[in-house]
């Protein structure tokens, strides 16, 4: 297998950064253990080997399957994941054990995604299938018998021993559908043959599938009382419409629709009213539903600039600290410096994702990278903003950081798709040899065989 200097440099950078991420994770893990129990964890060495080993597996997969891909977003994910893991381990050893298992599965899914999808463009063909899959995943928690509620939101599905949140995967399926459909129809939609006042709107026929998809997603999410996901889908839809049509009017329409929907939700649902009231002033509901937000504020204050030090704070006081409120736990023990590092981590990842989108030379690739990056960036913003009271709190996982298998698995698949888009672009730009993929070789072989039969 030949390799180009550019691709080799990217992979070298990636390896270096991964070693750094693993070192940070190992050091943080040691500090947390020292802070909590005043002993160096006996499982430190095996732990480090496993962490480094898993990251190296992902890195090797990139070397083999995505030589030309961006070299920064995998290490960034590894760092966020590592810090999240340390905090989870510090909060609950049992959860840390499970999270280790999820990490295995997530890395496996990452490699599998890269193996199965060898060219990003291949995905565009399956846009309708993705719509169907996305819709099915969204509906799954509402199916009696397997769907169930935890903490108010009906977003869980139990199949035998396995519990998962299908919404985490639905968002990727919908991003794939939006990217595929909009790449095909964006000119027609943008031409805006239908005039309504000052706005040029596309013909309803063009808009219908995407509006249906979006409306469906939002309605289902509202039925499941999963406000964070509703907001995420809404943003994803508006951003992809705007980027694909290059018309700012979609932002205006989106804003108007959002304001209307938000107001209606506030009017119609008591739990939305409660959330907004707590966001504006959590103190009157300290002993009720405002408790976790206030505890998060206490945690940030207790952490101050430098934090209490890992293992030395009281993040167990925050309800659901290891999932939705993990950012507050980081704020308490690592302080403003730690939370800023997390913010910068996400910003760099957004930067990496959007750079992949800009470099991509095909509409589908561009839109897919934009959509996936928007998902990560907005999801992190929604939950961090909720925990810090910038926006009303809507429970959703902090990508890569929070405890939870579905979230971790979905985000590593998302990461693999971004890597794949990046690699496909690099191939077309000639930064790395555009070798035939395994599937293409197999196909070519079959065609030669067929041809040989026809023309002996």
């Amino acid at each position: 297998m030949s390799s180009s200097p550019i691709a080799a440099a990217r992979r070298r950078t990636e390896l270096g950064l991964i070693v750094m991420a693993a070192t940070i994770t190992g050091a943080a893990y040691t500090l947390a253990s020292l802070g909590k129990n005043a002993v160096i964890p006996p499982i430190l060495v095996p732990f480090l080997i496993i962490v480094l080993g898993l990251l190296v597996v992902a890195h090797v997969a990139n070397r083999v399957l995505a030589k030309g891909a961006d070299g920064t977003i995998l290490p960034l994910a590894a760092m966020l994941h590592g810090i999240g893991y340390v905090i989870i381990a510090r909060l609950s050893e049992r959860s840390a054990g499970l999270q280790t298992t999820w990490t295995f599965v997530a890395i496996l899914a990452y490699v599998a995604t890269l193996v199965i999808i060898q060219r990003a463009g291949d995905l565009a063909r399956y846009q309708w299938s993705f719509l169907a899959v996305g819709a099915a995943l969204l509906l799954l928690p509402l199916v009696p018998g397997i769907g169930n509620s935890k903490g108010g939101a009906r977003i869980w599905v139990s199949l035998g021993p396995i519990n998962f949140q299908p919404g985490e995967f639905a968002k990727i399926a919908l991003a794939l559908f939006f990217a595929g459909y909009l790449a095909d129809h964006r000119e027609l939609i943008a031409s805006g043959a239908w005039r309504v006042g000052p706005f040029h709107l596309p013909e309803p026929r063009q808009l219908l599938p995407i509006a249906l998809a979006w409306g469906f997603a939002v309605v289902v999410m509202v039925a499941e009382q999963d406000l964070g996901s509703s907001l995420l889908f809404f943003t994803l839809f508006v951003v992809m419409m705007w980027v694909s049509t290059e018309r700012a009017s979609y932002l205006v329409i989106g804003l108007v629709l959002f304001s209307g929907a938000a107001f209606a939700a506030w009017k119609l649902f008591d739990h939305v009213k409660t959330r907004v009231a707590i966001w504006r002033n959590p103190w009157p509901q300290y002993s009720g539903k405002g408790y976790q937000v206030v505890q998060a504020m206490f945690a940030f204050a207790n952490g101050g600039t430098g934090g209490t030090g890992l293992g030395l704070g009281s993040p167990n006081k925050i309800p659901v600290a290891k999932t939705d409120f993990i950012f507050a736990a980081i704020g308490e023990e690592l302080g403003l410096l730690g939370t800023t590092a997390i913010l910068i981590g996400f910003l760099l990842m957004i930067g990496g994702g959007l750079r992949i989108a800009i470099r991509a030379d095909r509409p589908f690739d561009k839109l897919l990278a934009t959509g996936l990056t928007t998902i990560v960036g907005m999801q992190a913003f929604i939950i961090i903003g909720g925990v810090t009271r910038v926006v009303p709190l809507t429970g959703i996982a902090l990508p890569f950081v929070s405890y939870g298998g579905s979230s971790l698995l979905a985000n590593y698949v998302l990461l693999a798709l971004l890597i794949r888009v990046s690699d496909s672009t690099a191939r077309r730009l000639g930064e790395t040899p555009n070798e035939l993929t395994t599937q293409e070789r197999l196909k070519a072989y079959r065609q030669r065989r067929a041809a040989a039969k026809v023309l002996p």
């Binding site: 951003v239 705007w242 980027v243 694909s244 290059e246 300290y286 206030v294 504020m297 206490f298 945690a299 940030f300 204050a301 207790n302 952490g303 101050g304 600039t305 209490t308 030395l312 704070g313 009281s314 006081k317 704020g331 308490e332 302080g335 403003l336 939370t339 800023t340 913010l343 996400f346 910003l347 957004i350 930067g351 959007l354 989108a357 800009i358 509409p363 561009k366 839109l367 934009t370 928007t374 960036g377 907005m378 913003f381 961090i384 903003g385 810090t388 009271r389 910038v390």
Partner: protein, 496 residues
């Protein structure tokens, strides 16, 4: 599409900037406010795992300290109170779930090493992990405190002893009292039970009665009435009060009587040491509401006693408006009955002011705060609270109070070794029907010519076998004598 993607990047960057600003607000801007919120016990939790300095008496006796706990305890340090219930009302307690009181509350920053000066001093030892806790040194003497406690015995009441020239409190104890160690246990449920039990007790042991409670002063208040009369020139030492049995003040037909309905009169000196009531009712009426109220305000009555302990009480006499149409109330207020109430510590200050030439010093229990290395962080400098009377009036009152000890109701306070004391007794009648109850008071100082100690003793409202004008002296006098005799025999502490 690239233009939109770049704008999207800027928009997301802006979103994250908002998050960054909000994080600064929470972690830095509002940090102190959030950390100080009573619902936030994170700081307390951390404090309980840090060392905490000691509170020590003037002679070095440890009154409160933190010791490392054995493995398995919820926290790393346990607060101890080696003198048990002797200083509970001064040190207060330090608990995890129920806050802290008294010096444990007000001196928290010094004890934890959190004052700015201590933090500055700690920078040198930042990496060597030096203990930065401070200690609080009191002006109080545990030996005197113990003598006062023994003299009180099981009776409900308070004893306050102080240096009249500096305002330094030497002993201050009240019954009933409690042992802060019982409350400072780490088991929150247990601590709650103890607190609930103590709160339910009738004598309010958690309240430092000596400075947080007030009692009707009875005749001991005559010191104040007399001082105001002298200051305003409405009486003189040679003024004669004709012996009388009854006095009908204005606005009523109900006469005022002397204690036990006796006939009482004579010179100013005589009526003061015999503690007649009628002359002082007359003096109050002669002064009138304005001058009387103004005079009590000069004594700091109506203001919280400015001691360096939390939540002191304020003595109370009344306002001009209360008396204009209620002159009989003013008349009985003149001899410390009616609505008049005094804080025991305040009465010790009254005695101190007379002993100190009319200057009333601010009372304090903290002599100094020390850094961990023994360096002085702060030292209390004596300061004046009020100057209620002129030096000449103080001299006159001293003469009157010597008479009380030598010829009058204060005879039980005649000290050993011929040391001349000056005093005034009080027996405040609490009820007119049912079994008789009274507060027994004595306030005074010694030696009369060169005062070194001022004292106030009150025994709270117990039933008395025989009530007379001398009851206060008979019950409270011996306690004052015991404490002062001990002080003159042991002018400086000889160790716990």
């Amino acid at each position: 599409m690239n233009k939109q993607i770049r704008r999207l990047a800027v928009a997301l960057l802006a979103c994250y900037l908002v998050l960054f600003v909000q994080l600064n607000v929470l972690a830095v801007g509002r940090q102190q406010e959030l950390n100080a919120d009573p619902r936030n016990n994170r700081q307390t939790e951390r404090d309980f795992n840090r060392p905490r300095g000691a509170i020590v008496a003037a002679d070095g006796t440890v009154l409160a300290r933190s010791v490392p706990t054995t493995r398995g305890d919820q926290f790393k340090y346990q607060r101890e109170y080696p003198t048990g219930d002797l200083f509970g009302n001064v040190t207060g307690y330090y608990t995890f779930s129920f806050g802290s009181t008294q010096l444990e509350l007000t001196q928290n920053d010094v004890l934890m090493g959190d004052t700015d000066e201590q933090k500055l001093r700690a920078i040198g030892g930042l990496f060597s992990g030096t203990d930065t806790t401070g200690s609080v040194v009191l002006s109080m003497r545990p030996d005197v405190q113990q003598v006062a406690a023994d003299a009180l015995g099981s009776r409900e009441g308070s004893v306050v002893v102080m240096n009249p020239h500096t305002g330094a409190v030497i002993a201050m104890i009240s019954n009933p009292r409690y042992n802060p160690a019982d409350v400072a246990v780490h088991n929150s449920k247990r601590a709650e039970e103890v607190l609930m039990f103590l709160n339910a007790l009738p004598g309010k042991p958690l309240l430092a009665n000596a400075y947080q409670e007030r009692y009707m002063p009875g005749s001991s208040f005559k010191v104040i009435t007399t001082s105001i009369a002298f200051e305003n020139g409405v009486t003189a030492l040679d003024r004669q009060f004709p012996p009388s049995k009854e006095y009908v003040p204005p606005q009523t037909t109900d006469p005022i009587q002397n204690f036990g309905g006796t006939v009482c009169g004579g010179s100013m000196v005589e009526v003061f040491y015999r503690s007649c009531n009628i002359p002082f009712a007359q003096l109050a009426i002669e002064l009138g509401p304005e001058k009387m109220v103004e005079g009590t305000k000069k004594w700091g009555i109506g203001e919280k006693v400015p001691i360096d302990l939390p939540a002191p009480a304020a003595s109370s006499f009344g306002e001009v408006a209360d008396f204009t149409d209620q002159l009989p109330l003013l008349a009985i207020g003149g001899f410390g009955q009616g609505s008049t109430t005094m804080v025991p510590l305040h009465m010790a200050l009254v005695a101190s002011a007379i002993a100190n030439g009319g200057v009333m010093m601010k009372p304090h229990v903290v002599d100094a705060t020390l850094a961990h290395d023994g360096g002085v962080l702060s030292r209390t400098t004596p300061s004046v609270w009020k100057t209620p009377i002129a030096a000449t009036t103080a001299e006159t009152l001293t003469t009157l109070m010597i008479g009380v000890v030598n010829q009058g109701t204060g005879k039980p306070m005649q000290l050993d070794g011929g040391i001349q004391a000056a005093a005034k007794t009080g027996t405040a009648q609490l009820n007119t029907t049912g079994p008789e109850r009274s507060n027994a008071w004595i306030i005074g100082f010694a030696p009369a010519t060169d005062p070194q100690y001022a004292i106030a003793v009150v025994l709270k409202g117990g039933p008395n076998d025989e009530i007379s004008a001398g009851t206060g002296g008979k019950l409270a006098g011996p306690i004052a004598k015991t404490v002062l005799d001990y002080l003159f025999a042991h002018p400086s502490a000889t160790g716990g």
